[in-house]
């Protein structure tokens, strides 16, 4: 057994809006081991980003609320940490790469200063020269010539900006890197460059990674294990091979069918009918049942428990002990 780095149990996150409570994450559990890359896949509104923000304790104040469950990072409960303790964890031990490099950098600060800021916040006692050398080394590491550190974000292209964001995230050698759609805003050839670089740095620095994406191609290329999210819950979890070779949950199977294949010619795609449920009014029973082609009577009333077979977990009434009850 490898060492557990992050363990989330029955997490529930709610957003309080005018008049209604939006249940963005509902009883989510997952485990991330040291050195592992876990892909979290799901569509818009599945709660992927809310999950990332909960781990970072960056949920919007007053609106966002963790209603239950636990998040344990490196043996310590994050939910019990004070704001000051979290500030030292954030960036130093857990770092995050945001989706849009156009908006996650400060437009009026040179990129060198932005990388240096991270170092200054997390390492007291270092002198200016040391920090400046470290900035140069970090920029070179992500493939940006150190001479360009006096330039501003608008002088860089999208791919280069994302490299700056990655340099900032890796500045303090975090043990956990949360990447929220890191290449969604990039072109394919640039995406290939950035992913190759991330893979290389991850192995070199032995960082664990939580990779949030809606792109199954990115998951297949980067991850060791995959968690598929739907309506705030993980509905299927397994190794990359398990999920891609023998997906079990009707939603996961539907996702694969909906992607146009590059091999062979298909005349028609098989979409998943219907829409993602409104998280303020989740359907009773299994949240996927209104869209499911294999919906049974039990699915309408009872939320399915997790069924585990050789590390491949699925939350669906089609599998497990209550199969006969259908």
């Amino acid at each position: 057994m490898s060492e557990r780095l992050l363990e989330i149990r029955d997490l529930e996150v709610q957003y309080l809006t005018m008049g209604s409570t939006v249940r963005a994450v509902n009883g989510l559990s997952l485990v991330l081991n040291k050195g592992e890359t876990l892909g979290v896949v799901g569509e818009t509104g599945a709660g992927k980003t809310t999950l990332a923000l909960s781990i970072m304790q960056l949920l919007p104040k007053k609106i966002g609320r963790i209603a239950g469950g636990s998040i344990v990072f490196a043996g310590q409960s994050i939910l019990d940490a004070s704001a000051r303790e979290m500030r030292s964890v954030r960036g130093d031990e857990i770092a995050m790469i945001f989706q849009d490099p156009m908006t996650s950098l400060n437009p009026v600060m040179t990129i060198g200063d932005q990388v240096a800021e991270m170092l200054e916040l997390h390492s007291e006692g270092r002198d200016k020269k040391e920090i400046s050398d470290k900035v140069d080394a970090l920029l070179e590491m992500v493939g940006i010539p150190a001479e360009r550190k006096e330039e501003y974000p608008h002088q860089f292209s999208g791919g280069m900006r994302q490299r700056v964001v990655i340099a900032i995230a890796l500045a303090c050698n975090p043990t956990l890197l949360i990447a929220d759609e890191p290449t969604t805003a990039l072109d394919v050839t640039i995406q290939a460059q950035v992913l190759e670089m991330m893979e290389d740095l991850k192995t070199r620095l032995n960082t664990s990674m939580l990779l949030i994406t809606h792109d199954l191609g990115v998951v297949a290329a980067m991850c060791d294990s995959v968690a598929v999210m739907y309506a705030g819950r993980i509905i299927e979890y397994g190794s990359v091979d398990q999920i891609f070779e023998s997906p079990l949950h009707p939603y996961t199977i539907g996702l694969f069918n909906a992607i146009p294949s590059l091999e062979g010619k298909t005349h028609r795609l098989i979409p998943i009918e219907g829409l993602m449920p409104n998280p303020a009014e989740l359907p009773q029973g299994c949240s996927f049942h209104p869209r499911c082609t294999k919906c049974m009577e039990v699915c309408r009333h009872q939320s399915p428990p997790d069924f585990d077979e050789g590390g491949h977990t699925v939350a669906c009434h089609l599998f497990g002990a209550d199969k006969e009850g259908a």
């Binding site: 394919v188 190759e196 992607i259 146009p260 590059l262 028609r268 979409p271």
Partner: protein
Amino acid sequence: MDDIILDVRNLKKYFPTPHGMLHAVDDVSLSICKGQTLGLVGESGCGKSTIGRTILRLIEPTSGEIYFEGSNILEVPKSQFKSMRRNMQFIFQDPYSSINPRLTVSQSIAEPLIVNKLASSKRELHELVLHYMEMVGLDHRLASAYPHELDGGRRQRIGIARALSVRPRFIVCDEPVSALDVSIQAQILNLLQDLQEQLDLTYIFVTHNLSVVKHISNEIAVMYLGQIVEKCRTEELFERPLHPYTRALLSAILVPSPKARNKKREILKGEITSPINPAPGCRFAKRCNYATAACAEAGCELRDMGGGHMTSCARVNAGELKWD
């Protein structure tokens, strides 16, 4: 072939900038037969959307000729072009910003019908609106809903209904599914295909997504910095790509299968160069893994390498560069 519906010749669109001329579209020629789909692929900034917009004269080209059903639409005065545009429609990328948020679904769809005086009475207008809503799979009860109440897929359906309402023969689809989730994307792609069959429509499908373009197109043109670098039938492009850029683009696609992980990828160096005052010669040469010194001066005309497979790579055309 006589059933060519659209023929574009030597189309150029330059934008003046403080730093010089930006060559958004540089000497592009293409033609589409009736009932077919031409995919226009390329990365951001390669000019693919500009081509789509110039064909409908949403922006005026710098030079070139555009023949739609035999007549040069650039010679038609702007005042008369409105009636022509009924035959040629546009589906926009972003269903969140291309629809007026203050109009209901039925008002949005009625607008082009009113502008083009296609309904003689209020009653007929109402019936037509319901007809088009049905055609694109929008439930009648949504007629008085506002766009913000709907999801991206349904909003895109409004855009499609608006385009269809004037009974066009030709539609430019500019990244119509890029803003949508995969499960919804499949619904819209199926809808576009069904409509094409029912109404005998011709599409130009602009996208950066290669698996989508493979699925929907009969023919594909690959663009790089304002120029077409390769053009051929869809199957041919995926089986036998000739231009080094196309090859790199295909190799950069991440296939959703862990088996593909060990595949050797061709990673391009550098990034797209500036389209402002581009240097002569091959525009891709700076990033190309196969470029020689001669490429910086080479002429980059599209040449037919057999069976209508056109490429602009000088080394491939000269027989210097062979694959496999």
